[in-house]
Amino acid sequence: MKKVRVGAGSSGWPDYKDSAWDVAEHGDVDYIAFDHLAELTMAILQAQRARDPRRGYIPDVIPLMRGLLPIWKKKDKHFKMVSNGGGANPVRCAEEVFKIVKDLNLGGMKIGIVTGDEIPLSRIDELRAQGYKFKSLDTGEEDIDRIRDKLLCAYVYIGADKIIEALEGGADLVLTGRASDNSLYVGPFMHALGWKYEDAYWDRIGAGVIVGHLLECSSWSAGTCSNLWEEAEYPEGNPGFPIAEMDETGECVITKTATSGGLIRELTLKEHLVYEVHDPHNYIMPDGIADITTIKLEQIGKDRVRISKLGDAPRGKKRPDTLKLCLAYNDGYISEEMMVISGPKVLKMAERITEFIHRRLKHLNLKPREVLIQLIGFNSLQGPTVPVPDPEHEPPELGFRVAFKCDTEAEARECRVECGHLAWAAAGVGTAFTNPPGIRPVYALWPTLIPRDAVPLQLEIKEVK
């Protein structure tokens, strides 16, 4: 029975570099996958590259690789690596990694560079001219003409096709841009276990998609941000990253190294299986559509949980013929200010300051698009759902945060100064301030779909001896 061990190496930017090195050193893995991209990161990276062609990849990839590649060499280059840290500039990222290989004289290395995920805006216009509508998955709006002139960039969540091809071509590291986090893991499973994009394999690819979902958020399946936060111990302060031992049939055991903190329990996996899944029967990914209700979890040892098929319902269906496309556009500016106000009667004082802000906005004829006031220590996380406060037990102080959304940066600044900072006038004595974060441009996202065949991908394998 063929088996493969794939370890998680990162789940967004930033993450624990030392935990990735721990997986490489002690995880006895065949592959390590690194996801570095949150929903919005690509728009930021593309803006960086537009300003400076040497930038646009995830900067953290370099220190991460500098610590990882010596371990890779020590393990006589056994494990392969797959990463979407190339971002908007995978070619440049590969050059930087080759510099490390030379600096630390690690001998030869092959890097597979996957491109084609970024769609030039001219191509978007072409597709629209051909009658293709980019209907928003969020709001259902039919077409993008409302935002066309504000568009910054467009990128597609691509699948594992070129990752598999690169691994077949002997690549040690595969660098991509906007590869979906899931495909970074499904690629190695399919390559190592010989699965194909054909009907005989959708059930097993479904299992791969489910396990990919568990690994893509690294320590989040191993006790961090967990309901079991009180039990998860970190003696050395280094959270453990999950490792998947997948066999040919799609049955899998999730574990972690003994030298890392955190824990692998049925619940820590369950917590992530219910995270950002939407319709559990149709968890749509570029490489397959998984049905998360067809598997079961079983604790089979300390930090070892088996994921196996529940009944005979298939764990996955044929992959979709469209891919997720994200259009990023500029949508105004946000400014915010925070002060901390002192009791007694801190909640009443907060009401007074709130009234002050709205009256002063009117007094100065300022019209922000949106104003939000939140009380840190009381309702900033859970808003209107928090229970009515008990007057006997008021907090001694509260963070009073106000945020403004405006069309222009100047307006956002004026609102913040005149009605944010200067709102201390209505507060009682004992009010203090933090340095407000800078005014930030709002990058809005328009999620939609694009036909798979409208997104040709390229692979280039480079080598240094």
């Binding site: 030392d18 009180e230 998860a232 302060g237 009667k345 102080e397 963070g399 009682g428 933090t434 974060p437």
Partner: protein, 458 residues
């Protein structure tokens, strides 16, 4: 008896502009005084000027003047301001340009310079034997920081203000003029007071009263213990003080403006940042704040008068307050919010986790502080015990390091500490800043030659 009205129109930067406009339009104040400088503002403005020679003054003064000059044209009040900051000449230049295209001719400006000393001058004086002992910590001399100095400025008095008014200035603009002197100057000029023994009692009264005006609306119910009673603080009135030749005065505000003028709102400010109340040391004189009394004599009307026959002031000091600003590493800051029901325990776990992460990455910051917003961010060790279960707590990490790289690494580890928290944690925007530290000391008056230049809009 001659009486003169001065309004306190700004407490710092930024501040509300509308109270100043309201005073200009609706009151008969003869002088409008504007303090725009907090302790550190000068150092920030010096660094701005170092980067761009055409900057270094308070930018808000231009939109303010744009609104005030047309009113000035009708009412001809006088204005005294320290908005010039590190670049009074450029500030005056901009105001002259503004006045020209508003068609306001004949507007006369007095520009006061000499309050900021070049760093080489400081080194010269140090070589001459002046040690510049630190008033805060008592450190005997500045040798430890002399190579990190970025700015040096003196709190100068009202001498040049009086001279400028004498030459018919409509606006007197300077840099680090002491907030107090912006008010004492005009009163000395109007009443003909001199820096001589016969006048210290009255100058002392002006010094104490000016302290109540230099923070603008802070004396009229803003940031007050009486916040629940203050009507319409969103358009708070600026304090207007009518002083007589005897040094007694009455403080009011524009009819119909928001805010509250009462003996106890003024008292709140009289006890603010005074230190030794019987020796309130200012460049123009030493005030005795225990020698005056405050009485409510009508709605929003308070009389300030002499209490008994103790003199209200003593001769001005032979030295001036001198501030040196120097670079002192970096501070990075990061806030995340952890949810209840065990928010305090969860916050403590994140703190413990953070200190372990610092060990792992081998980082030894100069100083770290983790505090919890909603519990002890303001009150530290004095915060009363938590006798309830907060819905959430802000966990604030603040780290001081020598270098920017260390500051970034420390903040990165703080960011990652939310992994140790339970589900439901969110985080705010992080920030890093360069630390400018202040070295307060004294400098002999004669080492600070100031200059006055008169200009007129033609």
């Amino acid at each position: 008896m001659k009486k003169v009205k001065i309004a306190g129109c700004s407490a710092g930067w930024p501040d509300m502009m509308d109270p100043a406009i309201e005073v200009a339009e609706k009151s008969d104040a003869k002088y409008l005084a504007f303090d725009h400088l907090a302790e550190l503002t000068m150092a920030i403005l010096e660094r701005q000027k170092a980067k761009r020679p055409d900057r270094g003054y308070i930018p808000d003064v231009i939109p303010l003047m744009k609104k005030l000059l047309p009113i000035w044209k009708e009412k001809r009040f006088k204005m005294i301001s320290n908005a010039g900051g590190a670049n009074p000449e450029q500030c005056a230049e901009e105001i002259i340009k503004l006045a020209k295209n508003l068609g306001i001719i004949g507007f006369r400006i007095g520009i006061i310079t000499g309050d900021d000393l070049p760093i080489e001058r400081v080194k010269e004086l140090r070589a001459k034997g002046i040690k510049f002992r630190n008033l805060d910590t008592g450190e005997p001399d500045i040798d430890r920081v002399i190579n990190d100095l970025v700015a040096a400025y003196v709190y100068i008095g009202a001498d040049r203000i009086i001279e400028a008014l004498d030459q018919g200035a409509d606006l007197v603009i300077g840099g680090r003029i002491s907030d107090n002197s912006l008010f004492v100057g005009p009163w000395m000029y109007e009443f003909g007071w001199k820096y001589e023994d016969a006048y210290w009692d009255r100058i002392g009264a002006a010094v104490c009263t000016a302290h109540l005006l230099e923070c603008g609306t802070w004396s009229c119910g803003t940031c007050s213990n009486f916040w629940e009673e203050v009507p319409e603080p969103w358009h708070s009135g600026a304090p207007i003080c009518e002083m007589g030749e005897d040094g007694n005065s009455i403080i009011t505000k524009v009819e119909g403006s928001g805010g509250l003028v009462r003996a106890d709102t003024l008292k709140e400010h009289l006890v603010y940042e005074v230190h030794d109340p019987e020796n309130y040391i200012m460049p123009d004189g030493i005030g005795d704040t225990t020698a005056i009394k405050l009485e409510d004599i009508g709605p929003n009307k308070v009389r300030i008068s002499k209490l008994g026959n103790k003199p209200r002031g003593k001769p001005r000091p032979s030295t001036l307050k001198f501030c040196l600003a120097y670079l002192d590493g970096y501070i990075s800051e990061y806030i995340m919010i952890v949810p209840g029901p065990k928010a305090y325990d969860m916050a403590k776990r994140c703190e413990e986790f953070f200190y372990k992460r610092l060990e792992i990455v081998g980082l030894k910051p100069v100083e770290t502080l983790v505090s919890f917003i909603g519990y002890n961010a303001l009150f530290g060790p004095t915060a009363p015990p938590i006798d309830y279960s907060p819905n959430e707590l802000g966990v604030r990490f603040a780290i001081k390091t020598r270098t920017l790289e260390e500051a970034r690494e420390a903040r990165l580890q703080a960011t990652l500490s939310w992994y140790a928290a339970g589900v439901g944690t969110a985080f705010g925007a992080p920030s890093e800043r360069e630390v400018l530290a202040l070295w307060p000391t004294l400098i002999p008056r004669e080492e600070v030659p100031t200059k006055l230049e008169m200009r007129e809009v033609k």
